[in-house]
């Protein structure tokens, strides 16, 4: 399936291009706000829906709208907590399907809207569901929009888990101390029609999400779920591990997540493949994470530039993983994207240059 028309609305910019440019210069939006390091919009953003409207409108501007209108289009909203800030004011507003319904009403190209909510893998899993839906001819196009806010609700929750870092996060670093929460919205459009896109799209070769059946909030020590997920993805996408040029990992910068991922890549002999996590630029954006990180990876491929793993300094693991210390100009054809999250979910997908 074809993938492109990416948008990002983040504290680093209002388009994928702008966000990528600022990341290229090493900028991060993670700031100390009253003692908590997080990436948040400058004005206090209490609602997700207007951001999703803007993000989808920008993505649609990168495609041929007549083609979009004439073919069958699904909307997938990816979110963990939606409009959770309304929990005390108007509980009905917190129902996640309000988002998909209101977006469907706003954009007449959308035939149906659904919501995927699977914790931190929601974003990547939404892309996988989109690809599956098009592959099975249920839809021609899918608009995937992911978003979450840096709400007090999630900040307090992650604080209780001792999962937050008291400084900008350091993915895969020896001294990593935890994650930073980030807020962002990101949209990607997938289609069976290459001509839908104004700019050359890429190809999404497939993916899956496997449960490690181990623990609801701790990653599997031997990385079994992630390894199985990646193996299944390579098999269904008909890709050999030698073909992978770059890995965009989940890399939350918590002690156990990064250890688990490093173990998986090491066991799969991915030692010489460049790896990054993008959490050091805009934090962990929860339901948006898999989409915003894929959008940046699409920009990386388009610009032949891999971004450094911001925050990473010192190698931790026995493995010889090639974690990017600096931006690297290199042509990449095939990338692996992974996400793991609460509930034991491990998602992976392969994207390739046409």
């Amino acid at each position: 399936m074809f993938i492109g028309a990416e948008n990002i609305i983040s504290p680093l910019g209002n388009s994928a291009k702008e966000t990528f440019e600022r990341m290229k210069n090493g900028e991060s939006s993670i700031k100390n706000k009253n003692g908590i390091f997080l990436s948040s919009f400058s004005s206090s953003q209490n609602e997700l829906l207007p951001l999703m409207f803007d993000s989808i409108a920008d993505s649609i501007s990168f495609v041929n709208q007549t083609v979009l209108l004439e073919s069958k289009t699904l909307l997938i909203v990816s979110t963990t907590k939606g409009e959770i800030n309304s929990i005390n004011l108007d509980i009905n507003k917190t129902h996640l399907s309000c988002l998909s319904e209101k977006i469907k009403k706003r954009f007449n190209c959308i035939d149906k809207g659904i919501v995927v909510s699977t914790a931190c893998v929601s974003g990547l899993q939404s892309l996988i569901v989109a690809n599956d839906m098009i592959n099975h001819n249920y839809y021609d196009n899918v608009i995937i929009c992911g978003g979450d806010l840096a709400s007090q609700f999630v900040i307090e929750g992650f604080t209780s888990f001792y999962a937050l870092s008291d400084a900008p996060c350091k993915p895969f670093d020896k001294d990593r101390k935890g994650l930073n929460i980030g807020e962002a919205v990101s949209t990607i459009i997938m289609s069976n029609d290459k001509n839908l896109y104004k700019e050359t799209p890429l190809k999404f070769l497939g993916g899956c999400s496997i449960n490690d059946a181990n623990h609801i909030s701790a990653p599997h020590r031997e990385a079994e779920g992630l390894i199985k997920s990646i193996n299944n993805t390579l098999e269904t996408g008909n890709v050999l591990s030698n073909d992978i040029d770059f890995i965009n990992a989940h890399g939350t910068a918590t002690v156990y997540n990064d250890e688990m991922e490093a173990k998986a890549f090491s066991k799969l002999n991915f030692d010489n493949i460049p790896v990054n996590s993008l959490k050091g630029y805009f934090g962990h954006t929860l339901g948006a994470a898999g989409i915003i990180e894929t959008a940046i990876s699409l920009q990386s491929i388009r610009n032949n530039l891999l971004l450094k793993c911001k925050g990473f300094e010192n190698q931790d693991f026995d493995s010889k993983l090639d974690i990017l210390r600096e931006n690297r100009e290199i042509q990449v054809n095939t990338i692996l994207k992974t996400s793991s999250g609460f509930g034991g979910f491990n998602a992976s997908a392969i994207i390739q240059k046409i």
Binding site: V116, T118, S209, A213, K228, F345
Partner: protein, 188 residues
């Protein structure tokens, strides 16, 4: 009385609350002992996970032979309120300064898939959708995708909803051999 109904083949189960029956906690506890679960972790879970686990258990007990391949199982669930039942408890914790990770971890709907997978050691492929009501079309489509794509051999598919004292469960089994069968028929 809460009603538990199977279809003729025992491949679907529906749990419906009567309008006057308002105690979800006593129902879940009663079912735990009735099913002889012997799984103390059950008591740490939120009600959404407990209900999902009871529903799965009812189906597994009737269809044991189907669940032999633990790595070939799909779990496709949907509900209306996501994890709002636990969200409210976490929000109360924020307000009284008693936030607990044991509650926060349940503020995600897919945890029910995780808990069920752990209980049965299923390295499953799973997804959780949210909608106002049961979307037969979507759930059938995704079940077909997993079965026809050879990603799973058997899927547990359906609705598991809990909000305060209101709850409803409607789950069915879709297997490769019956993949042409419509979800509506299995759940009827």
């Amino acid at each position: 009385m809460t009603e538990i109904l199977f279809n003729k083949l025992g491949t679907s189960v529906k749990v419906t609350q009567s309008p006057i029956d308002n105690d979800i906690n006593s129902f879940l506890k009663e079912m735990y002992y009735k099913l002889d679960l012997d799984y103390p972790k059950f008591f740490k879970m939120d009600n959404l996970c407990k209900l999902g686990m009871i529903g799965t258990e009812l189906l597994v007990k009737k269809n044991k032979y189907l669940f032999s391949r633990k790595d070939r199982i799909g779990i496709i669930l949907q509900n209306k309120s996501s994890s709002l039942d636990s969200d409210i408890k976490h929000q109360e914790g924020i307000e009284d300064n008693t936030v607990s990770p044991a509650i926060f971890v349940y503020t995600l709907p897919n945890i029910v898939i995780g808990e069920t997978s752990i209980k049965h050691k299923w390295q499953s492929e799973g997804v959780f959708f949210i909608n106002e009501e049961l979307d037969y079309e979507l759930l059938s489509q995704y079940s077909n995708i997993l079965l026809n794509g050879n990603r799973t051999e058997i899927n547990i598919v359906g609705w598991v909803e809990v909000f305060k004292n209101q709850f409803k469960l409607h789950l069915g089994i879709l297997a490769k051999s019956t993949s042409t069968e419509k979800l509506e028929e299995v759940l009827s």
